[in-house]
């Protein structure tokens, strides 16, 4: 692998990311999948780095799941999005940051469609006025929340307590990154680093001391892909795609996986359990799985947040081996205690996956 070759590609896919003043929209599913990720994002950017990140309870879903499942037509999705953008304008912002990759892809797709078909944009503006009495607007800059963490990666590194380094060996942790198909596969120029060698997560990992693994199936779908998991009889495809990725990354012995998208960490995490139960195979060391994280969770770990405050107990694959490697202290007794100190219930132990 010639590192300079990748750097040349990264230089071709630079993205302008403003430093501050953002209108923030959440994801529909991340709050239940990874309950602390978005809170951690807001806490890091607002309280630790002092940025102006505005959020309103009036924003809704982007309509992405319904759109990609053919439940709503494109124009409906576009009108929902136009409403989100209008709220941004209403609150005095012109930079838009979203927490979800599906949303980000759909926003990019919508903006590009409007650019190519101005008459459609006009129609959507009209829909928006008729349905919500809101003034149509478009963001000046559209970024994904990981673009912002990427932008702030060195500021985060400067405030870090832990590094992505194995404290026992002093070696950088071996990290697999997965950006999510809708981040830059549809519009390579909209993502940091393009689609072949996306840099957004790589930049974070490098800044925080880790080492990236480029395994052969790194561009392959995580197994989310709406159509393959929504119906139970199709779910084998989803599982098989995830399996293909794990088989491909296995020889590289990764310590952890960092992800960008709501779906990817979920499927990369949960399917390790299903693969273990159906095939008897695990991919981590000594019967463990490979821990999977969102980028906010990794930023939080690096900055010294308590693992249980980051919601890492909700992961299927145990994160303890990684915490041990990074030298992060944790109290096993508090793993299943909620914020109020009451037990939130302990999951049943899987047969195969430790």
């Amino acid at each position: 692998m010639i590192y300079e070759g990748k750097q040349k590609i990264w230089a071709d896919y630079q993205k302008e990311i403003p430093e501050d003043h953002y209108f923030y929209v959440r994801s529909c599913i991340r709050q239940s999948f990874f309950p602390a990720s978005e809170v951690t994002f807001l806490d890091i950017t607002r309280n630790k780095l002092g940025k102006d990140i505005f959020e309103t309870e009036h924003h809704t879903t982007c309509g992405g799941i319904a759109y990609h499942s053919d439940a709503i037509p494109q124009e409906t999705a576009m009108t929902i999005i136009a409403r989100q953008f209008a709220l941004m304008k209403k609150y005095g912002y012109e930079n838009y940051v979203c927490s979800c990759i599906t949303s980000f892809g759909l926003y990019c797709e919508t903006m590009e469609t409007w650019r190519e078909y101005p008459e459609l944009q006009e129609k959507i503006a009209d829909n928006l006025w008729k349905s919500c009495h809101l003034e149509f607007a478009k963001p000046k800059f559209l970024v994904h929340a990981s673009d912002l963490i990427f932008k702030y990666r060195n500021q985060i590194a400067a405030k870090s307590k832990y590094k992505l380094v194995n404290v026992k060996t002093g070696e950088p942790l071996r990290v697999v990154e997965h950006i999510g198909c809708h981040y830059s596969k549809m519009f390579p120029s909209k993502g940091v680093g393009g689609a072949e060698y996306p840099y957004v997560l790589v930049g974070m990992v490098e800044a925080w001391g880790g080492q990236i693994i480029d395994y052969p199936e790194r561009r392959h779908c995580c197994g989310f892909g709406f159509r393959q998991y929504m119906i139970q009889s199709n779910r084998g495809y989803s599982l098989s795609n995830t399996h293909k990725k794990f088989e491909s990354m296995e020889p590289f012995k990764p310590d952890m996986i960092i992800t960008n998208c709501p779906g990817c960490p979920y499927f990369l995490d949960r399917w390790q359990y299903v693969i273990a139960e159906t095939e008897g195979k695990t991919y981590g060391e000594n019967g463990h799985g490979i821990p999977v994280f969102t980028y906010e969770e990794v930023a939080g770990l690096v900055m010294g947040y308590d693992p249980w405050d980051l919601g890492l107990q909700t992961h299927q694959v145990g994160v303890e081996p990684l915490l041990d490697k990074m030298g992060i202290p944790y109290d096993p007794a508090k793993k299943y205690l909620g914020k109020n100190g009451k037990n939130i219930g302990e999951p049943e132990k899987p047969h195969c996956l430790k």
Partner: protein, 109 residues
């Protein structure tokens, strides 16, 4: 083991790293013309057996080189050795002889 109602789908991908190079080399030793096929399909098109059962020397040669021995041999199992394919092969391959050699090397009864 837990029953989820779904499971891994087997991969249909050919992995050339796993192909049986040794057997094909043995075949080529006694039958160098096996390498001359240019996949034109004349043999398959004129095959007397092929209209009843899937039979194709072209596909069989490909299968042997891709490591799919079972499928390849099945594609020849209905051959009646009529020799029509020998007549039409533009590369002049003695196809009857080639099929017999394949059966010999790959130990078809």
């Amino acid at each position: 083991m837990v029953e989820f109602g779904f499971k891994l789908s087997p991969s249909s991908r050919i992995n050339l790293d796993l192909r049986d190079k040794a057997s094909f080399s043995k075949l080529v030793e006694i039958e160098p013309d096996a390498l001359k096929c240019m996949a034109c399909g004349s043999c398959t098109a004129s095959c007397s057996a092929g209209i009843f059962e899937e039979t194709s020397l072209r596909s069989a040669l490909l299968g042997l080189q891709n490591g799919d021995k079972e499928k390849a041999l099945k594609l020849l199992s209905h051959c009646m050795f009529c020799g029509k394919c020998t007549m039409v092969c533009p590369r002049g391959i003695n196809t009857r002889h080639l099929i017999l050699s394949i059966n010999k090397i790959y130990q078809v009864r």
